[in-house]
Subunit: 251 residues, 2 copies
């Protein structure tokens, strides 16, 4: 039984010393990987962020990634090389990457040019002027200066990683994750259900950050037929996911 688990958070580099990071300890993902590794004849791969907690089992193959782009490359390589029976995608993936950085002076200079060139600058012209100021600034390397005053960062949406999994391996059992913050349970379930439909997940673990604290971790494991199981600790979630996805499966 081949299993791929992703865990921890991605980090989008701003420069050599800082980045935009998704907070995730990877603790739940590490427990899931360890729970699969205990099964007979299992072969577990763990793709993880830089500061993620690692699983204890030494037989688990570990792959460290940093950015969403790294994650996509690693995932595609894995899914093209190996047929995985199960993929559990618990990693907190950035929705945005950094397209550019610009000082306030650079942005204002570019906008002023557009404003002077046009009697009344249109939305499109203003948008283009914004884009230009970031394009010019995006070639900075090394370490961003510490005294630029006010700085702007332009972020753009990353491709949705989870959508690639079933596209590359339609036969795998896919467990997606949805984390929201402080929403009613009904909303959590409906958002998780949409994620499941959109990405052909077989299960989605839905959770709310306000109901996670240390090992206490409320999670709802949704199935395709709309039922769900309720868990209250990370350990129970890990065991529950492994039990659900390996039931009746030959090892």
């Amino acid at each position: 039984m081949r299993v791929l688990v992703t865990a921890g958070g991605t980090s989008e580099r701003i420069d050599d010393v800082r980045g935009i990071t998704n907070f995730s300890t990877g603790r739940l993902g590490s427990l899931i990987a360890d729970a699969y590794a205990e099964k007979e004849n299992s072969d577990v791969t763990y793709i993880h962020g830089k500061t993620a907690i690692l699983p204890k089992n030494q037989n688990i193959k570990k792959i460290e990634i940093e950015s969403v782009d790294d994650l996509l490359n690693s995932l595609e390589t894995c899914l093209k090389q190996t047929n995985f029976d199960i993929v559990v995608h618990s990693m907190a993936v950035s929705d945005y990457y950094l397209a550019g950085t610009a000082s306030q002076d650079q942005v204002v200079a570019s906008l002023a040019k557009a404003s002077q060139a046009n009697l009344v600058a249109t939305d499109i012209q203003l948008q283009e002027a914004l884009e230009t100021s970031f394009k010019n600034a995006s070639e900075s390397a090394g370490k961003m200066s510490s005294d630029l005053g006010t700085v702007y960062m332009q972020l753009k949406q990353t491709p949705k990683v989870i959508g690639r999994i079933k596209a590359l391996q339609p036969a795998t059992t896919l467990v997606g994750f949805k984390l929201l913050v402080d929403v009613p349970e009904s909303e959590l379930i409906s958002v998780a259900t949409r994620l499941m439909a959109k990405n052909s997940c077989d299960y989605v673990l839905a959770n709310d950050k306000t109901r996670i604290s240390g090992d206490q971790h409320v999670g709802l494991l949704l199935t395709k037929d709309g039922t769900y199981t309720y868990f209250e600790t990370k350990r129970d979630i890990a065991q529950g996911i492994v039990k659900e996805t390996t039931q009746g499966r030959e090892s």
Copy 2:
């Protein structure tokens, strides 16, 4: 002998699930804290970022911080409560905090308004229009939507933390840190020397990220009289700092 060590990196919150993070494992800081703790009658406090490596010695008092603001508060509390003989400030502190987030539509709408209201918008008017779009957006909480298209973040400079240390405790021995990326050694020394003068440091550990890899870590410990000692590993840097700062000191 009372010693305060800061280590790891700060993280400026974007929302409940992501932040702008300074990369720093805290490994060197943890070794420095442990090296002081081995000294007789030492009393070591360790202020550290969320993912920083912790020192091994169980007698060290640990304080976890997240943002630059947290760090300033913790540091001021410590320095007002206790007279430290030595302060080693190795933490990677963010130069910027997040002042606001805005979608492209919000920014363009605000700029268009300024452009329509003025025949040719001046730099000041454009700057104000930019500010307004971020001010309106800064009250978002919870989790930023994942499909805003292009997003802008406005960052502003944080107060310099190192400057507070001697201001609050002029008698302490202060070791500052300067990390640059891929510069000639002469530039590293001159930048570190300026840091020392500006913040009344007694020593500055100057290092270049391109010369750090695992335990190999080239570091120059500069003294006030312009001389320096050269180290090649984290362990040697830690021992060197402790030796220099505790020489001739009663415990």
